[in-house]
Amino acid sequence: MQPTFHRLAVIGAGTMGLGIVEVLVASGFHVQLAEASKEIGSAAVNRLQKRLNARVEKGKVTAEIVEAMVNRIQPVDQLEELRECDLIIEAVVEKSEVKEEIFTALDKITSPDAILASNTSSLSITSIASKTKHPERVMGLHFFNPAPYMPLVEVVQGLQTDPQKVEHMMDWVRHLGKEPVKVMDSPGFLVNRVARPFHLEAYRLVGNGVASKEQVDRILQDAGFKMGPFKLQDLIGIDVNYAASTSVYNEYFQEPRFQPHPQQKMMVESGYLGQKTKKGHYEYVE
């Protein structure tokens, strides 16, 4: 039997939410997309449509397929409309109080068998689950940005999550054509945690005068990394990277290995956030 869900929803139409919607509708699923208002939801669907149309122009996909994909999305503006869903993926802003409010509400309106998943990259699944009456059906489903292209999905098992439901999710993610890894709930989960030294040690090497930023990037690229840590931070946003650093550090109760570097904070305070501000570790002229 194919592992599947029958009624799916994504909450939040930001970069990650919309990316996940694209993955789901591309696999043929119908998805309810919940946002604060129908206008925000429709605007997001239009953004996706535009992005997909660009691929039609390049001949990568047909207009019929794109039309079918977009037609599978139903924007809604009330959580109550999700009560029949058996899989809901939350992808709203990374604020625990916002997520807790959503999970508490979903817990009340959905069947206890429905899976409530969070796409959080930094908040504890165990903590989110603990606010619900049925924590055994709450888990992490961490897609990577950009979700349509990055194959990895971390399926995160909280302390109270039912391991069987996690296994079922692993099968379903494979069925979606993605590569799932099972991760026990812990700060930064797996990728963001193991990758911490790539960023933090880069700052220390420069801070201690061992090498310049350019040298660090050149050497690590020569060793086989696709991008050096400073170029990569400019791409993902120095503020985003700094937030991930402080979150993992604090969640681990100030474990020294995860100690952020003062330079990270100063870059953020100065507005040097990377490519998006035209200046980060490197300068970007138009």
Binding site: M184, V194, A195
Partner: protein
């Protein structure tokens, strides 16, 4: 002009440098084979610090005081290695990790180094097709230090049961585009080499953040040092294909 080089050390690091120099038709000599009349450079990749000190001191008695000594400064600063010798001003640190693959060669200079000789000494590697990156003198340079810390964090995550070995490797390749998973990378470079680098950072910088994961140390005690031993995080057949254990 660099026909005769003395190479100190053994194991995979030794083989890799020897083969590389062989490609450039350099005569590679070892201490136990006896030294040639003229020595143009010394390259030391010995991992064991006591043996390193012994070999370098023994060799120094038999070579002129201006022959450059390139020493792998993975667990000691180049400054400390230089301090073992009567002529410390001709010592340069260099990174032997991924020696064959990397075009760039990391070089570190001891405090005692005679700066006026830098270009003359680096000419050796330039003629061997390397591009130099002169970096500061802390143990482990840039790449060895970085990869050791990534592997250390992966070993901690594995110890804590966050994910399986296979999933840790898969996640870092698919989630962040690393060329290898950290655990398979450890097996390739050698778990003993990684622990040597971490021990050096921990001792010389004196910070908790460089503490080697106990699992890595136990693997060295058990001899599970990676591909060369047939067993590390993964097990290997002769063909060096990957098998889980």
């Amino acid at each position: 002009m660099w026909n005769n080089v003395v190479l100190l050390g053994d194991g995979p690091l030794f083989w890799e440098v020897r083969d590389y120099l062989g490609d450039y038709h350099v005569q590679v000599h070892t201490l136990d084979q006896g030294l040639p009349k003229e020595v143009h450079a010394v390259i030391d990749v010995e991992l064991d610090d006591e043996q390193k000190k012994k070999s370098l001191r023994l060799l120094e008695d038999h070579i002129p005081s201006d022959v450059p000594i390139f020493s792998s400064a993975l667990s000691r600063t180049a400054t400390e290695i230089a301090s073992w010798l009567s002529h410390p001003e001709r010592v340069l640190g260099f990174s032997p990790i991924l020696f064959y693959k990397m075009k760039r060669l990391e070089i570190s200079l001891p405090l005692q180094f005679e700066e006026s000789q830098l270009q003359a000494h680096l000419l050796f590697w330039k003629e061997m097709g390397k591009e130099m990156e002169v970096v500061g003198d802390e143990p482990g340079f840039v790449f060895p230090r970085m990869v050791a810390l990534l592997i250390n964090e992966a070993a901690f995550a594995l110890t804590e049961g966050i994910a399986t070995k296979g999933d840790i490797d898969l996640a870092m390749k698919k989630g962040t585009n690393y060329p290898f998973g950290p655990l398979e990378w450890a097996d390739d470079i050698g778990v003993d080499v990684i622990v040597t680098i971490l021990n050096g950072l921990y001792r010389e910088l004196g910070e908790e953040k460089y503490r080697p994961a106990p699992l890595l140390k136990k693997m060295v005690y058990a001899g599970y040092i990676g591909q060369v031993a047939g067993r590390g995080f993964h097990t290997y057949k002769r063909t060096s294909s990957l098998v889980e254990w």
